[in-house]
Symmetry: C2
Subunit: 451 residues, 2 copies
Amino acid sequence: MLKGLIEKLGNQKVSQSESELYRHSGDESSHTRVEPDFVFFPENVEDVVKVLQLANEYDVPVTPYGAGSGLEGQAIPINKGISVNFDQMNKVVEFFPEDLMITVEPGMTRLQLNEYVNKHGLYFPIDPGADASIGGMVATNASGTTAVRYGSMRDQVLDLEVVLANGSIIHTGSKAKKSSSGYHLNGIFTGSEGTLGIITKVTVKLHGIPEKVLAARCTFETPGECAEAAQAVLSSGIQIMRMELVDAESIKQVNEYGNYTFPEAHSLFFEFAGSPNIVEEEATVVEELMKEFGCKNWEHANSSKERIELWKARHEMAYAYKHIKGKVSTGSDSCVPISKLAEMVVFGRKLLEESGLVGGVFGHVGDGNFHTLVMYDPNNSVEVEKAEYTNSQIALKAIKLGGTCTGEHGVGLGKMKYQVAEHGEAVELMKSVKALFDPKGILNPGKMFYI
Amino acid sequence: MLKGLIEKLGNQKVSQSESELYRHSGDESSHTRVEPDFVFFPENVEDVVKVLQLANEYDVPVTPYGAGSGLEGQAIPINKGISVNFDQMNKVVEFFPEDLMITVEPGMTRLQLNEYVNKHGLYFPIDPGADASIGGMVATNASGTTAVRYGSMRDQVLDLEVVLANGSIIHTGSKAKKSSSGYHLNGIFTGSEGTLGIITKVTVKLHGIPEKVLAARCTFETPGECAEAAQAVLSSGIQIMRMELVDAESIKQVNEYGNYTFPEAHSLFFEFAGSPNIVEEEATVVEELMKEFGCKNWEHANSSKERIELWKARHEMAYAYKHIKGKVSTGSDSCVPISKLAEMVVFGRKLLEESGLVGGVFGHVGDGNFHTLVMYDPNNSVEVEKAEYTNSQIALKAIKLGGTCTGEHGVGLGKMKYQVAEHGEAVELMKSVKALFDPKGILNPGKMFYI
């Protein structure tokens, strides 16, 4: 059966090599790997239409794969079938510099996109850390360190070209900056993780590259104080570019890993960006504010080199943890109203300590979004249990406080169990939407909802 | 039959008075009035559940009514049945000043909301002109003069409580500032015009009241030059608060109506808001930029009184037109990519002149959203035809240029005919979503799509 399907797709666009099957069996999370039956590399929208028509005919699952940088297993083909890889669909379709807008294929990564538009004085600011594909970032509604300024992917998407399960091609929006026409399909496809259709073109907003960037860092006694200080920055109305929390344990890991001497205390990292006068003023106001809140070790940096140095502990953090031998990482991704952030951060730190596992608390505190990262031995069932317990306690508490179990990673495999707790009756409606868009269940089955 | 239905709803919550039936038969548009069978005034979500359960049982349409300030007939019960009026559901449910967030009932108007939060230094900035209800603004994805800074209603909504057609109550979001959990129901209910469910609570973002506001005005030779100048402001990256175009004909109408002496030329109106130093700098940069583009009559105003005076021509414009005797108004609401705005504005002005009808071009040029307003005698079929022709040519050209037929008014009755031109195949998907959410077709039937 597979052989006939592969022939119809064209042998040269399909791979069953061991290395490709392995690559498409997982992402950057520790979710169990599952290899697809084969990988299909479409070159254009017609290829995507074809794979969906054939998937219907042969009744096999189709799982889109971007850069493989997901953190919740969205790209893992848990029911096997076809992995659809967008490496060949990574080009600029049309660039509209005057409209601060570009249309690209989904396989283009955010760094490729920036390389293309930077020379025109423009940039695409959403920065989830990894060099994710734009299609993947839309599919998970990714965000990251700049969301405090620009929002998440859903705020950038103007239009998507999507191939539906039945093979028909639709557009979900337009090139207008705002619209009250029709139902908001942009919104529902963004964050749908390949379960409602396959994205084949993405039109997003671009922004002008800020004239000046200034970085700063300071420390506090407790993670709760960091969160309270971050809340004060938000209330001041200052449009910061980034505001990140990194707890003392994480700084310690970075120091050990990189042989640095950063102050091993709970730290806030800031970035200000815009026209020079305004940026200087913002940094001064925040410095005064942080000192009112009792910060220590305020440092700021102007030059690009100094900025990189100052933010090093933030950038190398996840990396530092990952080098702990014999352990793998898992993490939480909750997002709560800002007024609850201090409570959550303290709660997360306490849970980690009670677990006895090595782990850190950090995050995009300007949005109320933070992560815990906990290291465990996957062959030690007690540690596995404890790591899972930590994650679930944080997700459930965030939901109880009016927040969400996932601020930016998406549901995938890891957050399915919290959907009813978070969305209640609305989950039934979501499941009926899934059934409407994908009646045969061929689109990334087994993700987001227990159906 | 109606009598039994009314009894079950409770006579004291229902009105069949002539004045109420008339009030609920129309909105601020010139769409044909249709009276409901009766008006129901729910006091809480349970009442809304009840009316939907009974509407199912008796198979009668339910049409929500907010402040009656809509411009596309969304609140007109064209198939009669029950008008659901939210005058009694206009209270604050919960206020979260630290989180810059509030939950209100849908009948609260935007001025009532601002009155409540202003004393805490906060405001709700979305300003469609009329004192619309918050529920109505969500239902149409309203925006207006401040969208260039804050986006539209969809960008403000964090959570909605919605009663579905079957009477079940869901929440569409959470109180987190961002989320990647579940399908984005906030987005699809915002702008759904009462066709997918009835909104009973709205949680929206609030913003800090800017410390200083500065207004300015200048004129250009042609509306095209205005649009080009507006585009230059956007490209400069300055975060203006408002940027409005008013064409010479509209200024002339205001002068005649109010006995003023404003320069009768195509004008741009600006508002800058924020911390004092930044605002002054922004105004200076824009003044220089406008002069480079050949503007005349640059004037700016600091005090609140001067500001009101300076913007008078903008504020009184629609009012001035409406006092032309024997004529009613109709208008277009298209939104295009900024680079196409000059072309559209010139096109709109030319159409008005060719029609021989009195009319103006104005709009929120920072978003690429603009309106034509054309006055016609509803009893003169040639004028009716010409007015309709003008609107349709503008909508279709906007769609052709990659834009939308409605930037902020919504589809209602007037933009149904453009849905296929704008959304193509996606309309079938939207109609299937409607059928899924409202299988019996009791929710505001006859709006948005021809089904």
